[in-house]
């Protein structure tokens, strides 16, 4: 067997995979960091007996996930079944990623009603405007997304993969 054929069947390890990837759970601090850095997540819920999975933009504020979406009948399902799963991830490569999964309860916020509820709505809108300053104004880039929601995280889990030394989470030591 020539040296060339041997190399074809047993190529040397590429520099990118010289270090074996490691996968582990994210600690509590890093889970919150990933949630805080992200602005687009995926929201899974059951509506009319079907599993729905939709991308939504969001802000992580006061320990809650606050976002907005379009008015649709499937969201009305939240009024009767408010259990959801939310996921956000960061991916820098096949073996360099972080993923956080939140299980919680979703609530639609309304601009009307008792003052405490209106105050919650105003705080949520203010939080969304940190992401989209023109949200809910005449210059709103997505005016159709008129439903404001908040998710209470009841359980937060996270996993990561990394080929680098150290914790491997951006922004951490």
């Amino acid at each position: 067997m020539s040296a060339n054929s041997r190399n074809r069947h047993n190529p040397p390890a590429s520099p990118a995979l010289a270090r074996m990837p490691r996968m582990c759970e994210l600690n509590a601090r890093d889970r919150l960091l990933v949630l805080s850095r992200g602005h687009v997540g995926r929201l899974a819920f059951i509506s009319h007996g079907r599993i729905e999975l939709l991308p939504v933009h969001y802000v992580f504020v006061e320990g809650a996930i606050v976002g907005r979406t379009s008015l649709g009948t499937k969201y009305m399902g939240w009024l009767v079944r408010d259990e959801i799963v939310f996921e956000v991830d960061e991916s820098d490569g096949l073996f360099d990623w972080r993923s956080v999964v939140v299980r919680g309860m979703v609530r639609i916020l309304r601009p009307r009603g008792p003052e405490p509820e209106r105050a919650e709505y105003r705080r949520a809108v203010a939080a969304i405007r940190t992401l989209i300053p023109d949200a809910f104004t005449e210059r709103d880039p997505t005016p159709s997304r008129g439903v404001v929601f908040a998710i209470a995280p009841l359980a937060i889990t996270g996993r990561m993969a990394s080929t680098h030394d150290g914790p491997g989470v951006r922004g951490t030591a």
């Binding site: 809650a64 979703v106 609530r107 916020l109 405490p116 919650e120 705080r123 908040a150 998710i151």
Partner: protein, 206 residues
């Protein structure tokens, strides 16, 4: 009025229920006050073992005069709101805010009368229906608390009591969290766990 030292007196009513009106009991650290409630997500509880009891009698009255519904007896139980522990720091803060701890740092219960149950299942049993005034977040409401317990050979007492309340009766808006996604139910139950030992016999003393 004569004030007997905090944590030493109290519970004389329970002694009186078993016809030993002058036996005072010391409340043990295992005694607790527990708030049980529910939210749209789960049930929760907050508890404290930090409370003070004070027993006031009219020094002009004979001790033997301590009878059920006597106007000469006053038992006061005070607990610091911020001693309540709900198991999570964030929930503690939500609870303190709901109870307006900054303005009203104490929860106070003042016994105004009691009635011992004469129909007891065993000789060691103690059963008292107490009536008192409960002050929470600056509002006072009349409450009835049924306390049932047993007396041990050393004269100590193990008792439990409870009362169901509505937060709104005390002007408390049921707490919410996470922009209202978690909402506490209005009703809650206050439980009392009493563990006490005999401290001294007050017969003949003021």
């Amino acid at each position: 009025m004569t004030r007997i030292a905090p944590l030493m007196a109290s519970l004389v009513l329970l002694s009186a229920a078993s016809m030993e009106a002058q036996t005072a009991l010391t409340v043990q650290p295992e005694s607790r006050v527990i708030l049980h409630g529910r939210s749209n997500v789960n049930s929760w509880s907050c508890a404290t073992s930090t409370f003070q009891t004070r027993f006031d009698v009219d020094s002009g009255a004979r001790v033997e005069g301590l009878e059920p519904r006597s106007k000469f007896v006053r038992l006061t139980v005070t607990l610091p709101v911020r001693s309540l522990d709900c198991g999570k720091r964030r929930m503690n803060e939500d609870m303190f805010r709901a109870l307006k701890a900054d303005s009203f740092p104490e929860i106070r219960y003042v016994l105004t009368s009691y009635e011992a149950d004469e129909q007891l299942p065993t000789a060691d049993s103690v059963s008292v229906n107490s009536v008192g005034e409960l002050t929470v977040a600056g509002r006072t409401r009349r409450v009835e608390i049924q306390v049932n317990g047993t007396r041990n050979d050393a004269g100590g007492l193990r008792g439990n009591g409870g009362v169901k309340l509505l937060m709104t009766d005390f002007g408390i808006k049921p707490p919410t969290a996470f922009f209202g996604a978690i909402r506490t139910k209005n009703s809650l139950e206050v439980g009392v766990v009493i563990r006490a030992t005999t401290a001294y016999v007050a017969r003949g003393s003021p």
